[in-house]
């Protein structure tokens, strides 16, 4: 009962802040439109180059264009959801801690991590979400993929847990700022590794492959689960790996975060 009350409260607060964020959009229309257009353009350019590459070569280490599109589209979903709900972690790394603005989150009767993340609902993420869904809609019929109820459930689970791989990586790297005061560039460096994950890991050499599988496991946000839906295989490894990677990263993230909060030094005033 207590658990449900807690969930209810989380949803309620999210709803309130989303409402406020949408109001904010109306206040700063031009900024929002530019941001959303920018996101769409970025994805459009990426896809454009991908199609140029595939107009020259028939396949990529045995992966067809449609398959790549599916993986690419799948990759965008968890990325977009993380972007939508946990974007404020970037601000932790860049300025919230450095300027001492973290103080106010500590004086509120909610967990500071929740207080920070709930504050920003990053609508720019809808650009990625729209492109991701569009790519899936295009590639699924072409690949004649058949989604059984089990696979639909696995698909949802994979997207859900893959989101927390992104969030976990951001949580660990942004928490470093509690000690170093600023970790924005560290977040950026690790976050950008996700670019590798949109393509079949088989095209990379062993070093990069093991990095994106075991160290910064972004391969589990896209290629591994997506390839299961395309070509089948062992769900326990492909989707289960995503669950394990998400659980491990989130757990480490929470630990580092909590340690960080205790080490927080505020700023002079």
């Amino acid at each position: 009962m207590k658990f449900f009350k807690k969930i209810h409260r989380i949803f309620k607060l999210h709803r309130i802040f989303i409402k406020q964020d949408l109001k904010k959009l109306m206040e700063y229309k031009i900024d929002f439109l530019t941001g959303a257009a920018g996101m769409l353009l970025t994805q459009a350019f990426n896809l454009f180059f991908l199609s140029i590459i595939f107009s020259q070569i028939p396949d990529l280490k045995g992966w067809k264009f449609e398959e790549i599109l599916f993986i690419y589209g799948f990759a965008l979903l968890p990325k977009a959801i993380d972007h939508l709900f946990f974007d404020n972690l970037w601000a932790i790394g860049y300025f919230i801690i450095r300027k001492g603005d973290f103080d106010k989150y500590l004086t509120r009767p909610v967990s500071p991590l929740f207080a920070v993340t709930v504050e920003k609902f990053q609508v720019d993420a809808f650009g990625e979400l729209v492109v991701g869904i569009a790519l899936l809609c295009v590639s699924i019929p072409r690949l004649k993929l058949d989604f059984s109820p089990l696979n639909i459930a696995l698909f949802i689970a994979a997207v859900f847990f893959a989101t927390f791989i992104y969030t976990g990586v951001k949580l660990i790297t942004s928490s470093i700022a509690f000690w170093t005061k600023r970790s924005g560039n560290i977040i950026y460096m690790f976050y950008m590794v996700n670019d590798f994950a949109r393509y079949p890991t088989t095209i990379y050499n062993r070093f990069i492959r093991s990095v994106i599988t075991f160290i910064i496991p972004f391969a589990f946000t896209a290629f591994y689960p997506a390839s299961y839906f395309i070509r089948g295989g062992n769900a326990l490894i492909n989707v289960g790996g995503t669950v394990i990677a998400a659980a491990v990263l989130t757990a480490i993230g929470m630990l580092v975060w909590h340690r960080g909060v205790c080490a927080y030094e505020s700023a002079g005033s």
Partner: protein, 337 residues
């Protein structure tokens, strides 16, 4: 109510040599130094009391407040408020306190002020009925009416401060921490804020801890003051004791038209003031006269000065807190007096 025992906070600071070269050197070979911001401070505050927490810039006031509000974890020592340890029982503890940092805002920059309160209402789980009553009350004491629909970013400093104080009181806290609530405000707003603090303290028996550089705040509000300097407690006692020590001291500053005229003045003889009640300094341009306001009135000093010579500029001010601290050191009031 509040029990602080041997509280201590140390920060590690990287010492850098000046310039870019120094920065680069420290990047590769950092030299650390331990800074003790708060050094072994103990005091108690009883329920319903207004405690003034004063000291010069960098004395460690804010650091103490931050430890009492659960923002910082003490290096050693303990503090307990209402039986709770701030940094351990943080979530349930902060429901019972209100915090305002005058230099910062906890309001949402882009939202209309009214929205800020509805968001805080949900965060603090205030029910609709109490919220309505509370807003009406806060509206009355802090006069929010005229700007409650404006976005926070458009508020003036005075409005923002009132809004921030209202935000900290929304959930009817038992203890209110105010870190420089009157900083940078004009006299009218300062007075308004003091009245509000007073009426909240009287109506709801809210315990208030406030830091300030404004002696007027202390005189109007505080029952007791704790003074710290360089992280150490140097004074703890009633406001009367402080006034006796130095509070009545005023300073007259003026620029004579002809510097040599200043020699004509002899305050000591005119008002028969002893050495402890009078100090005159002349730097060849400005003359400053510090005198005991109990022994001689500002009016008398002023009229005597203006009768004796011509001045280009003249002003009378309260002795500032740093002076008082120096005075307390000199007069040897023991810390636990």
């Amino acid at each position: 109510m509040i029990h602080v025992q041997n509280l201590k906070k140390e920060f590690k600071k990287t010492v850098k040599e000046p310039g870019l070269k120094g920065s680069i050197k420290s990047f590769f070979k950092p030299k650390n130094e331990i800074i003790t911001a708060v050094d072994d401070i103990s005091f108690d505050v009883s329920a319903g009391e207004i405690l003034g927490f004063i000291g010069p810039n960098g004395a460690g006031k804010s650091t103490v407040i931050k430890m009492l509000t659960g923002i910082l974890t003490p290096t050693s020592g303990s503090c307990e408020i209402n039986g709770k340890i701030p940094y351990k029982n943080r979530k349930s503890y902060v429901k019972e306190i209100g915090v305002v940092f005058g230099q910062r805002t906890q309001l949402w920059w882009d939202l209309a002020l009214r929205e800020t309160y509805t968001v805080l209402k949900e965060i603090y789980e205030v029910d609709d009925e109490s919220f309505k009553k509370r807003m009406a009350f806060l509206n009355e004491v802090l006069e929010l009416e005229s700007f409650i629909t404006s976005p926070v970013r458009t508020l003036s400093l005075g409005q923002r401060m009132r809004a921030d104080i209202a935000a900290s009181l929304l959930h009817s806290p038992k203890v209110l921490f105010l870190d420089e609530p009157t900083i940078g405000l004009d006299v009218v707003v300062k007075d308004n804020i003091r009245q509000a603090i007073k009426s909240i303290n009287e109506n709801e028996k809210t315990t208030v801890i406030l830091t300030t550089h404004d002696l007027q705040d202390v005189e109007n509000l505080c029952d007791r003051i704790v003074m710290i300097d360089k992280g150490k407690k140097v004074f703890d006692g009633g406001i009367d004791l402080l006034k006796q020590s130095y509070g009545q001291s005023r300073e007259l500053r003026f620029v004579p038209v002809a510097v040599s005229d200043a020699d004509k003045l002899n305050y000591g003889r005119e008002f028969s003031l002893g050495e402890s009640d009078l100090r005159v300094e002349n730097d060849g341009h400005t003359v400053s006269v510090r005198f005991n306001n109990d022994k001689v009135s500002v009016e008398k000093i002023l009229s005597y000065t203006l009768k004796t010579l011509h001045v280009k500029d003249i002003s009378v001010t309260d002795a500032d807190i740093e002076e008082i601290i120096k005075g307390i050191y000199k007069s040897g009031v023991s810390p636990d007096a």
